[in-house]
């Protein structure tokens, strides 16, 4: 089925829906493919999620949390590992996000260092959890007495993003702050709609100095 360049071009034009004077068989072939592509496209489009506002809010929340774009002239990934710079000094990181090919050795070396870094982070996390556990054991928590409401969620990033989006929608001028690993503080200006919304989420709003503070965090592990 070898064809001339001219014939291929005609085929592409008919595929794009142009009405051409061309060989009938070529037109039939391109039109049959066009019909099949439409069905195929429809099937895949049904599986494609919608780029909705909720996902945009999650994305913006993540960008704010990670400070991406705030440090112009500085590579975000490198910046986030600046404290362990001596460990990573010998790694040639890809210079541009557009670069594709990385030598195998480089990948292996990077994986090794990532493994080491992950182990260190895990160790620190376990120790921090243990220290927190001991602290909680010795000091009983009176959650009702705090000046903020606590929302526990398995996916605190999504929950915080959802709240932020809702607060914005209700004109609450919300602010978000990261409190460390997967914990977020949201501050919002109270109004009747926000108070009503929080009650639907089983959160009792506590207004302090004209602000409602909500802390979103993952469930505590025992």
């Amino acid at each position: 089925m070898l064809n001339s360049d001219f014939e291929d071009e005609q085929w592409l034009k008919v595929l794009a829906g142009s009405a051409l004077r061309a060989e009938p068989r070529l037109i039939r072939e391109a039109q049959a493919l066009r019909g099949a592509l439409k069905v195929y496209q429809q099937q895949l489009d049904e599986q494609t999620p919608v780029a909705d506002d909720q996902q945009l809010q999650q994305l913006l929340f993540r960008l704010r949390r990670e400070g991406a774009g705030l440090r112009a002239g500085e590579d975000f990934e490198v910046a986030s590992f600046s404290r362990t710079e001596p460990l990573f000094r010998d790694i040639d990181r890809p210079k541009e996000a557009g670069s594709v090919v990385e030598p195998r050795k480089q990948i292996a070396r990077r994986n090794w260092t990532w493994g080491l870094a992950a182990s260190l982070v895990l160790t620190v996390a376990v120790m921090a959890q243990w220290a927190g556990f001991l602290e909680r054991e010795s000091e009983p928590q009176y959650r009702g007495s705090t000046a903020h409401a606590v929302l526990t969620a398995k996916d605190p990033e999504s929950a915080a993003a959802e709240l932020l989006a809702k607060f914005r929608e209700l004109d609450g001028d919300p602010q978000s702050t990261s409190l460390g690993y997967r914990r977020f503080q949201l501050q919002v200006r109270p109004n009747a709609a926000i108070t009503a919304y929080l009650r639907t989420r089983q959160l009792e709003p506590v207004v302090q100095e004209g602000t409602i503070t909500i802390v979103v965090e993952p469930p505590r592990t025992k």
Binding site: L12, V39, T48, L63, E96, G98
Partner: protein, 190 residues
């Protein structure tokens, strides 16, 4: 807002960055989700990939030096994220090299369809196209863009080729697809 302006604003950070990200999300978000699904990602993975792509665009906007179109650079980031994703996951299908094409041409072209499958040319072509799509999703993605009437430059940004190479690539799709639908086109008559 043009793509170059978007990158410039992303670099400046803060509220300007957020406005630029929102604009980019509105203009490109849905196309990127579609791109990921067409290349075999699930809906959930496509959402994660889109977020990853935007975070990478935001965090590495300063590395874009204005060589080539900004859109091409952003789509390259998306393709890198997809490639990273498939490096981590075991992909059920793989891209076909030229040797494999030879084998496919010899075997598939002679395959006779069961009587019920050949009821219509349309069904036959659709089945062939689906098989081709599993083998080479990028080509089907490019053909879909061509069918939708996108210009060569836009298609070239999405698939990461120069405009002239993209035209060649699209023409080659006919040849590559032929073994999958040749038995159907015989039903089209002379």
């Amino acid at each position: 807002m043009t793509d170059d302006e978007i990158i410039k604003l992303i670099r400046s950070g803060g509220k300007a960055m957020e406005a630029a990200v929102k604009s980019l999300y509105a203009s490109t978000g849905q196309s990127m989700l579609r791109f990921f699904v067409y290349h075999g990602a699930s809906a959930e993975d496509a959402r994660d990939l889109l977020q990853e792509t935007f975070v990478k665009i935001a965090s590495s906007a300063h590395t874009y030096r204005g060589e080539g179109a900004a859109a091409a650079w952003m789509w390259q980031v998306a393709r890198n994220c997809l490639a990273d994703f498939f490096r981590g996951a075991s992909r059920p299908e793989h891209a076909v090299n030229d040797d494999e094409w030879g084998t496919i041409s010899e075997t598939v072209a002679d395959t006779k369809l069961p009587a019920d499958a050949a009821r219509s040319v349309d069904d036959c072509v659709l089945r062939g196209l689906m098989n081709f799509g599993r083998r080479d999703p990028e080509r089907v993605y490019a053909l879909t863009m061509q069918m939708d009437g996108h210009d060569i430059e836009t298609i070239s940004h999405h698939i990461g080729r120069r405009a002239t190479a993209t035209k060649q690539y699209l023409c080659e799709c006919r040849k590559k697809l032929a073994p999958y639908i040749q038995h159907c086109t015989e039903l089209l008559g002379p």
